[in-house]
Amino acid sequence: MIVQLFHQMPVLVVILPLMAAPLCVIAHRALPAWLIHTAVSWVVFGISFLLFVETRVAGRVVYALGGWAPPFGIELVIDRFSAIVLLLVTGMSALTSLYARASIAAELPRERAYLVYAAMLLCLCGLVGMTVTGDAFNLFVFLEVSSLASYSLIAMGPSRRALLSSFQYLIMGTVGGTFLLIGIGFLYVMTGTLNMADIAQRLQGVAHTHTVEAGLAFIVVGLSLKAALFPLHAWLPNAYTYAPSSVSVFIAATSTKVAVYALIRFVFTVFGADLAFDSLPLGDVLIVLSVAAMLSGSLAAIFQTDVKRLLAWSSVAQMGYIVLGFALATGAGLTAALTHMVNHGLIKGALFMAVGAMFWRMQACSINDIAGLGKRMPWTCAAFVVGGLSLIGFPGTAGFISKWVLLQALMVDHHWLLAAAILVSSLLAVIYIGRVVESLYFREPAEGRKVARGEAPALMLVATWTLVALNIAVGLFGAAEVDATRQAAMSLLGVGQ
């Protein structure tokens, strides 16, 4: 029976969170709901790790839902590329589960906590589903599952402005989803199938029709919206700022990355790099937009006063790095994009966790509120410093590996100006991280503010420092990670050609 279970691993990662979410609602209490969320997250992470190992050996794992053979049935496909994204999403969910208990108890009314855990599981289900599915329409469905869950999660934030932010996100997200659906519809019209591999095969004859080109445009814009690519990023800063801290951690580290994953999947697996990058100028547009995102996002981050908002703007900038690597459409570029997807997840996860811990202590997180916290919460603040160094790209941290790989990819094609843009953006990151660190360590708490003392709860610290340690581990032993992402990129290009 256990062996049977192991054959079902690809579907289990989707089904388990989906089934567990209603259980959380039935449990109706914070503690059991949290236990369910934690247990399921870790189990799904364990399965993902096994799947990751399996794809390292076998290349890809295929699963036909309900035994219906593709292209008529829905197919789950996990290759080396999706396995890495899957590991990131489930790993972040597992760590967030440790972090969430104390953080949510402090930020939300007790009787609503179980809803957060249920919605987080649904969001996990959606993101995992997007990652493992091999069916275009199925991808849209999972995108909506994760999006709906995240609207409700953000709306549950402690401040009243959370509701408006969530509403704006809902409108933008729905438009994005609709665009994606229209794009998939166009493809369906031209090919009569929804299975990605099948579409790719049948597109060969009709690739240069206007319908397919319009389909590509709709899909790219729709997913750019979900990935918060400049100038479609405006929903993101508010959404991340006003969401509950543990929700910010999870969504910031995973959701936009999965959208980029879907974009890469569509462009390389379905349309093929030849069509998107050679016949049509997708790469040029994306390069311009990503450079604008890097510079504009970083500049905006410098002027923020709320630390969560500052990190959110920095995410807009960092998405620029990821999309830039992807837009190069070379093996090295894709490797860089994938590496930074993972590393940025680790970095932003650690930073949002540290800020969430400060919020837990101070009930606020503007730069003035956290002044002088360095002495009172040494571990939390040290975590922020290391995470910040990683974001800047300090050698010995994960961020350095990302930038190094990306710069190498740019140098190969002699894109000197783009390399310069990355360096400028990194310098801007020094400034905005520096502002926070300065406030933490060099400023005294404002007069008249109550001086709260003491570290964050142990589980929050454990989760935060696990991510910090991962940042350093990746920084010191980056070769293994880059090796994995390079293999993933190569497998993607192999499929795309």
């Binding site: 190992v53 399996e54 704006q168 049509l280 547009v285 500049l299 060099f442």
Partner: protein, 571 residues
């Protein structure tokens, strides 16, 4: 015995493991008067049988559709089975006075299962005996018959059975991937390999998977702890050596294992728990040896396991004797026992000197093999960690255990010397510890690989003596200066001082310097042009166009613009 028919040898039923297990059941049914005879005779007979078996694979049977190999006799499995049987004999001698049928039965079956696992030639057999050790050993904890021991035992059982389940699932996946259940080198290349690795890791008490050792061992009975300390963890070490020799990850894991228990061992008050921590630290040496994976390193790991079982058993025996007579092994309640229990004190010191690797004691001739192997392969970080750990071992196991129980200030216990059978068992173990240290050739002769190694080179001896002298000096200096109070908790003062005093002082100084630099920089930068800053602020400040919250309409407009842009370009 030598003229057994050769075709009978190698029959699956004629296995030392089954002999022990059956012996256990016979003991359960026999009258109390003959228990002592059985306890000593069965391990002795099994040992004789083991050495009658020729090298190679024996005892093939078919079960569940698999071809199982019950007996694999080669260098690696034979040395492990040998020391397990010697350990079983000594612990039987030690427990001779105990009038508790359950403990005797459990010890024999547990030992038999451990030997069966060591001799297993395939993963299914390994799994069966693996679970056997888990289920039989828990009775040694429950036999303490306290509520606490009952709860601890349950926790212990859950963890051990989990390890077994992981092994089973891993085996199935491994079988489907490779089509073989042979228990040879497994490696971490497959999902099954990882699961089996995790199963071994739990029993080998890898860092973060280790808590069950310190949780359960000190809660077992006087004799139970001695028995427990011999088998489970060393079985896991054997399994790692068989399946994962040369896996680099193990070097890191092992190095961490040697270092981190030291701090816990130093501040712990329960002396049996101190020994449990130091057990963990000693396992680390073996894990590093396996991770290095050269012939010398594997030899070192095997030899160290052999010596370790003897001296760690001896230390647990001596603390067990104290617990038996005094009723406590809390360091803060003991002292001056050498007057009442001189023999036990002497044997305990032999154990301490062995674990601290004094020349002429067993730890020296085995541990140095691992250190030499690490140096030969240029694993300098691991080598340094092992060296530091060696110094730490002296402080917590070498000095702390005998010093606080037998010497220090006399608390006034006046008890009888340990029972004769305990003294005999300790004496035999002490004899072997010194014997191996003085004349290691017989041990080297049964190691898995041919040995070309001499522990007693001048450099080794002098290095080790220096290390020991300075570690001992550290202890003496701290003690003489009264830097810790009479209670044991003060012992961690030396490391305390670093983070209570020195580091904060340094941090404050750096902080002051940075504040000064910052003021300086602000003054300089403030004078630089503010024109571009004003422009940036007007665009990106909280009300700037690119930074304030856009209305939903503007956001949608941009989505439309971008879509139109793409469509125009594509047409």
């Amino acid at each position: 015995m030598t003229d057994w028919p050769s075709d009978l040898l190698g029959h699956p039923l004629l296995s030392p493991a089954l002999l022990m297990i059956v012996g256990g059941f016979v003991l359960a049914a026999s009258p109390r008067q003959v228990h002592g005879v059985w306890l000593l005779a069965i391990p002795a007979a099994a040992l004789a049988l083991l050495w009658q078996l020729p090298l190679g694979l024996h005892g093939e049977i078919s079960l569940f559709g698999f071809d199982l190999t019950m007996l694999r006799i080669d260098g690696l499995s034979r040395i492990w089975a040998t020391i397990f049987l010697i350990g079983s004999f000594l612990s039987g001698l030690y427990a001779l006075h105990v009038r508790d049928r359950i403990q005797h039965v459990a010890s024999l079956i547990y030992a038999g299962a451990a030997i069966g696992a060591v001799l297993a030639g395939d993963l299914v057999t390994l799994f069966i005996f693996w679970e056997g050790t888990a289920i039989s050993s828990v009775f040694l904890i429950w036999a303490r018959r306290t509520v606490r021991a009952h709860i601890v035992g349950l926790r212990y059982l859950v963890i051990q059975v989990t390890s077994g389940l992981l092994l089973m699932v891993g085996t199935i996946i491994h079988y489907r991937a490779t089509g073989s259940i042979a228990f040879n080198h497994l490696g971490l290349e497959t999902a099954g390999g990882w699961l089996i690795f995790l199963a071994f890791g739990i029993k080998a008490a890898f860092p973060l998977l280790h808590n069950w050792v310190q949780d359960a061992y000190p809660e077992a009975t006087v004799t139970g702890t001695v028995v427990l300390s011999i088998f489970t963890t060393k079985l896991a070490i054997y399994s790692l050596a068989r399946g994962y020799a040369g896996t680099e990850l193990l070097i890191t894991v092992g190095a961490v294992m040697t270092i981190f228990p030291i701090f816990f061992a130093v501040i712990e008050n329960d002396l049996r728990r101190v020994l449990a921590y130091s057990l963990n630290n000693q396992l680390g040496f073996m894990v590093v040896g396996i991770g290095i994976g050269t012939n010398l390193a594997i030899n070192g790991a095997a030899a160290h396991a052999f010596a370790h079982i003897l001296y760690k058993g001896l230390l647990f025996m001596s603390m067990g004797a104290v617990l038996h007579r005094v009723g406590t092994v809390k360091a803060s309640e003991l002292g001056g026992l050498y007057k009442s229990m001189p023999w036990t004190a002497a044997f305990c010191i032999v154990g301490s000197m062995s674990i601290s690797a004094f020349p002429l004691f067993s730890g020296f001739v085995t541990k140095s093999m691992i250190l030499t192997a690490a140096a030969e392969q240029h694993h300098w970080i691991a080598w340094t960690a092992l060296l530091l750990a060696s110094a730490g071992v002296l402080d917590h196991s070498g000095i702390k255990v005998p010093f606080f129980s037998f010497f220090h200030h006399d608390v006034g216990w006046r008890v009888k010397e340990a029972p004769l059978n305990m003294l005999l068992a300790m004496g035999a173990a002490a004899f072997l510890c010194i014997g191996i240290g003085v004349y290691p050739a017989p041990l080297y002769a049964i190691l898995p690989f041919a040995v070309d190694y001499s522990a007693y080179s001048t450099a080794h001896v002098i290095n080790q003596l220096q290390l020991l002298l300075f570690a001992a000096l550290a202890f003496v200096v701290l003690f003489r200066n009264g830097w810790y109070p009479a209670e044991i908790r003060g012992l961690n003062l030396d490391s305390d001082w670093v983070y209570r005093h020195a580091l904060p002082a340094m941090a404050a100084r750096i902080h002051r310097a940075l504040v000064a630099t910052r003021e300086h920089a602000r003054a300089k930068l403030g004078r630089l042009g503010s024109g571009s800053y004003g422009w940036l602020k007007s665009h990106y400040g909280s009300t700037g166009a690119l930074s304030r919250t856009w209305t939903t309409g503007v956001m949608l407009l941009w989505a439309g613009v971008l879509l139109a842009l793409y469509l125009v370009i594509y047409y």
